[in-house]
């Protein structure tokens, strides 16, 4: 079974500072994908960043980057130069293409507040 753990229910960061959100997962699969999704207040869930497990290089998307430690099964999200619009729930997710359904497994989320 696949599990995803986010141990930080709530976090806050000053505007323009850097914050790191933690995520660990458990799997016996070797081929899988990891994701960070963002859900702003009362708005749609959107993809922030994606990492393929076979790629050693950490994914980056503008101010968002990940620290992917495959052996440790850790997948943290770093947000640099935090902006007020980064205030949201952040979900870590795992997917292994095991079957035709391609089920995603989500963590319980981290509520991030950016303080002006």
């Amino acid at each position: 079974a696949q599990t995803v753990t986010q141990s930080q229910p709530e976090m806050s960061v000053q505007e323009a500072e850097t914050v790191t959100l933690s995520c660990t997962y458990d799997t016996s699969e070797n081929n899988y994908y990891l994701f960070w999704y963002k859900q702003p207040p009362s708005r749609q869930m959107i993809l922030v960043i994606r990492q393929e497990a076979y790629k050693q290089q950490n994914a980056t998307e503008n101010r968002f980057s990940v620290n992917f430690q495959k052996a440790a099964k850790s997948f943290s999200l770093k947000i640099s130069d935090s902006q007020l619009g980064d205030t949201a729930m952040y979900f870590c997710a795992f997917m292994a293409p095991l079957n035709t359904g391609n089920q995603f497994y989500f963590g319980t989320g981290t509520s991030l507040t950016v303080i002006p």
Binding site: Q6, P9, Y33, F35, Y37, R43, Q44, M45, I46, L47, R50, F91, A93, M95, P97, N99, T100, G101, N102, Q103, F104, F106, G107, T108, G109
Partner: protein, 112 residues
């Protein structure tokens, strides 16, 4: 842009009513999913479908059923709504091979 739409943003129903939640995607995706989102519990998968007329149970299927008669539409049905089904319901779709899931705006269902 991929678009996933859900029939209602807010819905209020009474205990025992039959409830239909509709989801439509416009990108010809094979896979569709229904989740419920509750504080502290994250997203929990109710049902998913990888093809028309195909369905698979997720982690919490009890009290729910689904229907997928057309590729673009995936319906979640609460046969007899109960107060413990008050929640946010999210629909998602993904192509095959999967690169991400695309989410709808959600339906906040309140069962009185």
């Amino acid at each position: 842009d991929v678009k996933v739409t859900q029939s209602s943003r807010y819905l209020v129903k009474r205990t025992g009513e039959k409830v239909f939640l509709e989801c439509v995607q416009d990108m010809d995706h094979e896979n569709m999913f229904w989740y419920r989102q509750d504080p502290g519990l994250g997203l929990r998968l109710i049902y998913f479908s990888y093809d028309v007329k195909m369905k698979e149970k997720g982690d919490i299927p009890e009290g729910y059923s689904v229907s997928r008669e057309k590729k673009e539409r995936f319906s979640l049905i609460l046969e007899s709504a109960s107060t413990n089904q008050t929640s946010m319901y999210l629909c998602a779709s993904s192509p095959r091979p999967v690169n991400e899931q695309f989410f709808g705006p959600g339906t906040r269902l309140t069962v009185l």
